[in-house]
Amino acid sequence: MTDPRLNIIPERFKGVKNIIAVSSGKGGVGKSMVSVSLALAIRDKGFTVGLLDLDFTSPSTHIILGAPSLFPSEDKGIVPPITNGLHYMSIVHYSADKPAPLRGSDQSDAIIELLAITRWEKLDYLIIDMPPGLGDATLDMIRLIPRITFLVVSTPSRLAFESVKKLLLLLIELKIPIKGVAENMVMEESNYIKTEIQKLDLRYLTKIAFNKEVEDSIGDPDKIVSSKFHKDVSKILDFI
């Protein structure tokens, strides 16, 4: 027996020029905030952008975007709704924001189903907000999406970087393109992360300051766009 979904997935991404998975070995480093902010920054440059939230057990981008119950339309598949100018797909469209206690194999099945039936419009960029860790979602994206690239987020903390380093080593070994590493929640001057990134021959993309206003901007994309956080994130545009 063959799973007929796997064959159609590459087809679904044919019209997407750049695919960027925002990832980190570690949770809570700001992947979701960076994903949304980056997607909005790309939009404001006049590009067509999609945002795909793959953090099925802890989806956040709908909260950050202040985008409540949207529902994809059906057209020979499902077509992501547009919110804030972003072609937006999240499991929340179906889980109604209730707890989604999914084992890895079910997360994998759900991801494959979603990728197989989602018909993205022609996009210049698709930003994917990934769950933490090196589990099913990360391994599936690597094996299923041929032109995937990774944008990795760390914080200045050693605890974060030790996990991030594991993801980076895995991606390097598998020869998956890495856009670079963004350092988020920076509070003090330190070259620790930058030095470590350069040791791995990777690009250090931007230093994003820790900023209390980030919390207030959650749910309000206009506030995000006018924030210092967004300005820091936007420096990533030079590298993608």
Partner: protein, 148 residues
């Protein structure tokens, strides 16, 4: 088996079942080519009932999507009842459609794993169950005339 569609209204092909049919057609076509099959005579498909996929729509889409290798292909679709097995207490049960509101049916229709969000084990209340049978759409086998 191909049946004459009861309803060929234009709303049919727009449904998401089309995307599932595309997967079947492209997988079967690729497999046939890789195996030097010049004409596919039968494609056997299994559709799990959990997802409540409309067989009529799948069949309609399959008809529309026939490739040159599928000029005379019979599409044989088999429905597989959905069975659950609780990992927490071992209880087994089957899928009963009427149990869900329309919203829940819709969610599971598109992403069957949403079952774990909305369905609980009737014995112990756990969402930690396995869909042991009847999930998804599978290409079971194809038959064809080989050119070697």
């Amino acid at each position: 088996m191909i049946v004459i569609l009861k309803n060929e209204s234009m709303t049919f092909p727009a449904m998401h079942e089309w995307a599932l049919a595309e997967g079947i057609i492209s997988t079967a076509d690729k497999f046939a080519k890789e195996n030097n099959i010049t004409s596919i005579t039968e494609i056997h498909i299994m559709i799990g009932e959990l997802q409540q996929v409309e067989h009529d729509i799948v069949e309609f889409a399959l008809e529309q999507l026939r490739t040159p290798l599928m000029k005379n292909t019979k599409f044989i679709i088999k429905a597989i009842p959905a069975k659950f097995k609780c990992r927490n207490c071992g209880h087994e049960w089957t899928f009963i459609t009427g149990d869900f509101t329309e919203d829940v049916s819709e969610a599971i229709h598109f992403v069957p794993e949403m079952a774990h969000v909305f369905i609980k084990c009737p014995n112990c209340g756990s969402p930690d169950f396995e869909v042991s049978e009847g999930r998804g759409v599978w290409l079971q086998s194809i038959k064809g005339i080989k050119d070697d």
